[in-house]
Symmetry: C2
Amino acid sequence: MSEHQHRAKPRKPSPARAAQEAKILAAAEEAFAHLGYNGVSLEAIAERAGLSKQNMLYYFPSKESLYHQVIRNILDLWIEKMALLEQEGDSPRDMLENYIRGKLEISRTRPNGSKVFANEIISGAPHLQEYMRNNLLPQLDSDIALVKSWIADGLMDPVDPEHLFFTIWASTQTYADFSTQIGMALGKETLDEGDFQRAGDFLVHVILKGTGLVEATP
Amino acid sequence: MSEHQHRAKPRKPSPARAAQEAKILAAAEEAFAHLGYNGVSLEAIAERAGLSKQNMLYYFPSKESLYHQVIRNILDLWIEKMALLEQEGDSPRDMLENYIRGKLEISRTRPNGSKVFANEIISGAPHLQEYMRNNLLPQLDSDIALVKSWIADGLMDPVDPEHLFFTIWASTQTYADFSTQIGMALGKETLDEGDFQRAGDFLVHVILKGTGLVEATP
DNA sequence: GTCTATACCCAGATAGAC
DNA sequence: GTCTATCTGGGTATAGAC
């Protein structure tokens, strides 16, 4: 064996290599989002990224490994934004509003990531079940505990905290995943910032008032 | 041309043939739901349906045609249930509660159909864009008009009706499409009736109260 | 209507020259 | 690191006997 042993992964990701990988990952995310894992060919991804299929396989030795990296990148972003509830000092209603608007912001800025994620979950999450169990669930548990403490303190209605989060996830991600359907219903090709603004206003109003975090204003 | 011209479709769907087709369609729906269009082979569907791939191609001459039929069946069910808001005589709050629980019921009883539908929308709905525009949107428009009349009559808060429906669709379908994730969060393999009951109670509470259809109860 | 055999194509991956 | 060439498997679909 050479003295330059390859560790787990990182050694010196040369700037050139990093740039190529980024281009490939971006192309792959978009392609996987629209066509699903089995619907895209390496050829198509490579073309979009501006290199040959064979050359791309130099950077990512298999389709699997490429997909895996795409999924991981998205999930890391997810979990990072998931901790929105953890900010000290804010009132419960501010925290929940920030959480909702933060989730919506991800849908607006990373719709393709959201779609890849959705495809993966619908398929039973074979690639990230373990990862979710280890990283996403602990975060969720602490968020749920926080909501339970609000309920115990009489700050909000005694709703199921789990279902509160399911609803927030679903109703924010839908603006990314189902944007085609929503666009059709709104009579436009793509959703603009105004649409997301109105979506946020609606969700914040209904969820805060609906959980009793904001008093009914007659 | 023979005198027995083949019309658009139906002539005499013999009972035997109808039964075979039903078996095939059921197998296909399940397979497409879990693996997506490109993720399933005809071989796999045929095996699940209990016949040979070649024999299945006798009933459905191509994969495309099979998929198309699966999608159509689901969408018809969707639109039928979409008219829940149209029942005369009920109060707005009863109508909306029925609508929410009806949608949830579809997620519980036809999760695979919901998943196929979700996959299709995420991919830009290439197979059913036209169909949705002609059948789903008119129904939605009339539902929206109804909600607007409630608002005009001062029966509920002046929220965006469009986003109300987007939220109801997303938050009910998530129990089918993302059942894997929700199951993980709830610590169980599959969702049972109690889970759907609690989901319904949560959604009805939050949405009715959040839109001002039910007064805040202190 | 159901079977066997097979044509045909496309996509993932590898080999090896440069 | 990038290219040309190629192997290989799997998947849709058809042909034709029974």
